[in-house]
């Protein structure tokens, strides 16, 4: 889809973000449906599926809702950790030469990704994390879920944000040092030689 629409000169970033958002959206939606059903089955809570959604007894609402959200948070954590691993270890800007050789020998070169791919994925998964934290906070405020679910979501969001910021700083720092190193060398060599000749 991405390569097909890219040729039509639409906004490259928007297309990439939409492309990256499809899979986690479907995944999280499926996780919500499956987790509600499984948690209700585990606690032997009668549940009705209607056009309006799932109907369950009011006294077990908070329990099913909380554990279902917790499973969603776990799936988000796995996704975010996978992207963080790729951006810290398999980022093409700062991957070590020995690891590059190993990855190529295992024919897994597709795992080495550039900043555009990694940061678009990271932005999408982080957005889901922020949205989930926001909604969980509101639900905890109205006693629709447990407070510790909101705290878990908050910790995940803060941790992943800090890690992404560190990776971006790392990326910017490595680029800046590369560019300034070359300029300094050229300027110093020319000025010294000209001064000695005169």
């Amino acid at each position: 889809m991405y390569y097909f629409i890219k040729s039509a000169m639409f906004s490259k970033i928007l297309i990439k973000l939409i492309d990256q958002a499809i899979v986690p959206a479907i995944l999280l939606l499926a996780v919500r449906f499956v987790s509600v059903t499984l948690v209700a089955k585990y606690y032997k809570i009668p549940i009705d599926i209607t056009a309006a959604g799932f109907n369950l007894p009011a006294e077990s609402y908070a329990r099913v809702n909380s554990y279902s959200i917790l499973i969603m948070i776990l799936v988000l954590t796995v996704g975010l950790l996978y992207i963080l691993f790729k951006s810290f270890v398999l980022h093409d800007s700062h991957i070590s030469p020995s690891l590059t050789a190993k990855v190529f020998s295992l024919r897994l070169s597709a795992f080495i990704q550039n900043s555009f791919d990694l940061y678009s994925q990271g932005a999408i998964w982080l957005s889901y994390s922020y949205l989930l934290m926001l909604v969980t906070g509101l639900m905890a405020l109205f006693n629709l879920t447990y407070v510790w679910i909101f705290v878990t979501s908050l910790v995940l969001t803060i941790f992943s944000t800090i890690m992404f910021v560190l990776d971006i700083e790392n990326e910017l720092g490595s680029k800046q040092s590369q560019s300034t190193g070359i300029e300094e060398e050229v300027v110093l060599n020319f000025s010294d030689k000209e001064g000695q000749d005169e």
Binding site: A25, R32, V36, F54, A58, I69, V135
Partner: protein, 76 residues
């Protein structure tokens, strides 16, 4: 491509992206508590209203006698 066309397409793409972001989060609102208690209270209220609206049919003679007894009691 025309600038206006590009603007329209970009805004549509932004809407699509936002809807993709909101879609899984909106599934959090799919759970509904069963409102059996509120239905019960509503039914009770409705039944009380019916009692008030449709009183049992008391023959006119009995009603008059009951009224007359009440007046005599109050006179005493």
């Amino acid at each position: 491509m025309n600038k206006f066309t590009r603007l329209v397409i970009d805004s549509l793409l932004t809407l699509l992206l936002l809807s993709l972001l909101v879609l899984p989060i909106s599934s959090l609102g799919l759970l509904n508590p069963k409102t059996t208690r509120s239905f019960q209270t509503k039914a009770q209220v409705l039944s009380k209203q019916n009692v008030r609206k449709d009183p049992p049919m008391i023959p006119e003679i009995f009603r008059q006698t009951s009224e007359s007894t009440q007046t005599t009691k109050s006179a005493k």
